[in-house]
């Protein structure tokens, strides 16, 4: 055991164990204070943005510190997890949040959305997510989830003057709270069956024998709630509309961070509480995964608006991730974690680029608008092309490695049929990713100089550059990321029952 290890049984230890969340909370307050003070024009918004970045950076440092201090065995019955799964999940969230902040900086000014509370909301959502991934207790899951949701509802409707944005917020809110009801009801039933809200202890309760009806119902209701959050078919309907109506950086944030938090929390609940009951939830995830892959990809094929197309694409990717979770094995979990990284990095860059290319919420941006981009803005075109290929899962990009990993995990747990469906739907997805590349590279621009004002802001440029480099680097040598995702999966799978590990 590490000599300076955190002991969660002491108040200090618990505080240290929540250091990133604590740090970020304090930072949010600071930013809020700054915002209250300086609430004028674009400069203030910018200041809030950079302050948020610093906040995220400090949080990341704190995360790195506790990751180094984490004990091998934190003990039974704690509220917070101190495992690699949490650290990796938190790191992903911080990465995506930072990317979203960078993408927002120029965007908000351009769209005249310069109320600096935006960043506060974003950071608050991040705090919620951090709690989602660190929770070892259903109470904490709910708290984190609601903190995140409430903040994101507001973010989605942040462009108040825009009817689409407001409608997006309303739909998200109504269906979101509806789904939260299901989740909570599921939690209640689980609690009723297990007698505790601590995940590990629930898992211990359910480790032997078949689940009682109440627990099964609890599992079902919770699955409904989580599947809503990750936008799995048939709980997906909100996603296209909300992604479409929300300001583009918010869409990016939802597609990456919110989705990651949802999947990580879902994985934790499923593996820790129901790790011994994989056969109970496995077929459901399989069916939802297939539905998401198929529907997401085929409907994306019919979309004109690129932003809406990416929304359907994100549904399809949720399907791939569900397939990875379907395996119920550490390998699948690792694949899911790695894929979240790949998909998130790619999506951050994609939405940042879409945000730079469109105007007024990017709802009208379609392929004809990016025609000839390769000659007007070669670097942007190259970046978007790399992102498209990564989303398509083309070798040389992280998207390929991610898909490869998911395929491997599927095949290793006898999911050849699911792997086949996955690749076939990927072929369909080529039908909408490739036309983007075709428009940029193979069609002439609609008019000369059409791209003169379509440049990425400096901060977004940084985000995109880092993302694209990551896409390519991880596409060739993903070893470091693989090590992390493996560690994360292993740490969570230690709580798996013997039944599941035998899969």
């Amino acid at each position: 055991m590490n000599p300076t290890a955190i002991d969660l049984s002491t108040p200090l230890g618990l505080t240290l164990g929540l250091l990133p969340e604590v740090v970020l909370s304090i930072a949010v307050l600071v930013v809020l204070l700054i915002v209250a003070w300086r609430h004028g024009g674009p400069a203030d918004s910018r200041l809030a943005g950079w302050a948020s970045l610093v906040a995220l950076g400090v949080t990341a440092a704190a995360l790195a510190w506790i990751a180094g201090q984490a004990p091998d065995d934190p003990g039974i019955g704690q509220m917070v997890a101190l495992d690699a799964f949490r650290f990796v999940g938190s790191a992903l969230l911080l990465l995506f949040a930072a990317g979203s902040v960078l993408a927002s900086l120029g965007y908000l000014e351009r769209e005249r959305l310069v109320a600096p509370e935006y960043y506060v909301l974003l950071l608050l959502a991040t705090i919620g997510m951090l709690f989602m991934v660190n929770s070892q207790d259903l109470i904490l899951v709910v708290l984190g989830l609601e903190t995140m949701s409430v903040s994101v509802y507001v973010l989605a409707g942040y462009n108040r003057g825009n009817a689409y944005s407001s409608e997006a917020a309303l739909k998200y809110f109504l269906i979101g709270s509806f789904a939260a009801g299901f989740l909570l009801y599921g939690i209640a039933l689980t609690y009723g069956s297990a007698g505790t809200t601590n995940l590990v202890m629930i898992g211990a309760q359910f480790a032997h024998g078949s689940l009682p009806l109440m627990a099964r119902l609890g599992l079902g209701f919770m699955l409904v709630g989580f599947c809503f959050k990750v936008a799995a078919v048939p709980f997906h309907n909100w996603a296209p509309d909300v992604y479409d109506g929300a300001p583009t950086p918010v869409t990016g944030f939802m597609a990456t961070a919110v989705k990651t938090a949802g999947f990580v929390a879902l994985a934790r609940v499923l593996f820790t509480c129901f790790g011994a009951n994989v056969p109970e939830w496995r077929p459901i995830l399989g069916v939802l995964g297939v539905l998401s892959m198929v529907l997401g990809n085929v409907v994306a094929l019919t979309q004109r608006s690129l932003k809406r197309m990416m929304a359907y694409s994100s549904i399809a990717h949720a399907g791939y991730l569900l397939a990875a979770l379907w395996t119920g094995t550490p390998l699948g979990l690792s694949a899911m974690t790695f894929y979240l990284l790949g998909y998130g990095v790619t999506s951050i860059a994609t939405f940042a680029l879409l945000g730079a290319l469109g105007r007024n919420g990017e709802r009208d941006l379609d392929n004809s608008d990016i025609a000839g981009l390769a000659q007007g803005r070669p670097w942007m075109a190259a970046a978007l092309a790399v992102c498209s290929l990564s989303l398509l899962g083309f070798p040389g990009t992280v998207g390929f490695m991610g898909k490869w990993y998911i395929l491997s995990s599927l095949v290793s747990s006898g999911g050849g049929w699911l792997a086949t469906i996955l690749v076939l739907t990927s072929v369909v997805s080529a039908g909408y990713y490739l036309p983007m590349i075709m428009a940029m590279y193979m069609r002439p621009a609609r008019a000369p100089l059409v791209f003169w004002d379509k440049a990425l802001a400096g901060s977004a440029r940084l985000a995109v550059a880092v993302a694209v480099l990551l896409i390519l680097a991880l596409g060739i040598v993903p070893t470091s990321a693989l090590t992390l995702s493996d560690a994360a999966a292993t740490s969570l799978a230690q709580t798996l029952g013997p039944v599941a590990s035998g899969q």
Partner: protein
């Protein structure tokens, strides 16, 4: 014990809430139905805590808090919509579709 009837009542409440969400078109009413669902959850927690101890009751407080926060944000969003549509009837609100 009243656990069984209480749970049944909560299930009924939950179902009524769901049905309300399903059949009503007014955003405010729908949100009230959602609140009904949450209260059904609360009822369950309270009932179950008689069997399992305090944590269920603690949970209820959290749920109420969350519901309050949601209500604040939700009503603000509904207001924003009202400003655009002069209505909160969801049958009219479908700019985003397809």
């Amino acid at each position: 014990m009243l656990l069984g009837p209480a749970l049944a009542l909560s299930a009924l409440l939950f179902a009524i809430g769901v049905t309300g969400v399903l059949v009503r078109r007014n955003a405010i009413v729908i949100y009230m139905c959602v609140e009904l669902m949450l209260n059904a959850v609360n009822l369950s927690f309270v009932a179950l805590s008689t069997a399992h101890g305090i944590s269920g009751q603690v949970f209820v407080f959290f749920v109420m808090t969350v519901a309050a926060a949601e209500a604040a944000v939700g009503l603000a969003i509904i207001l924003a919509i009202f400003r655009h549509h002069k209505s909160v009837n969801l049958s009219n609100i479908n700019l985003l579709k397809g």
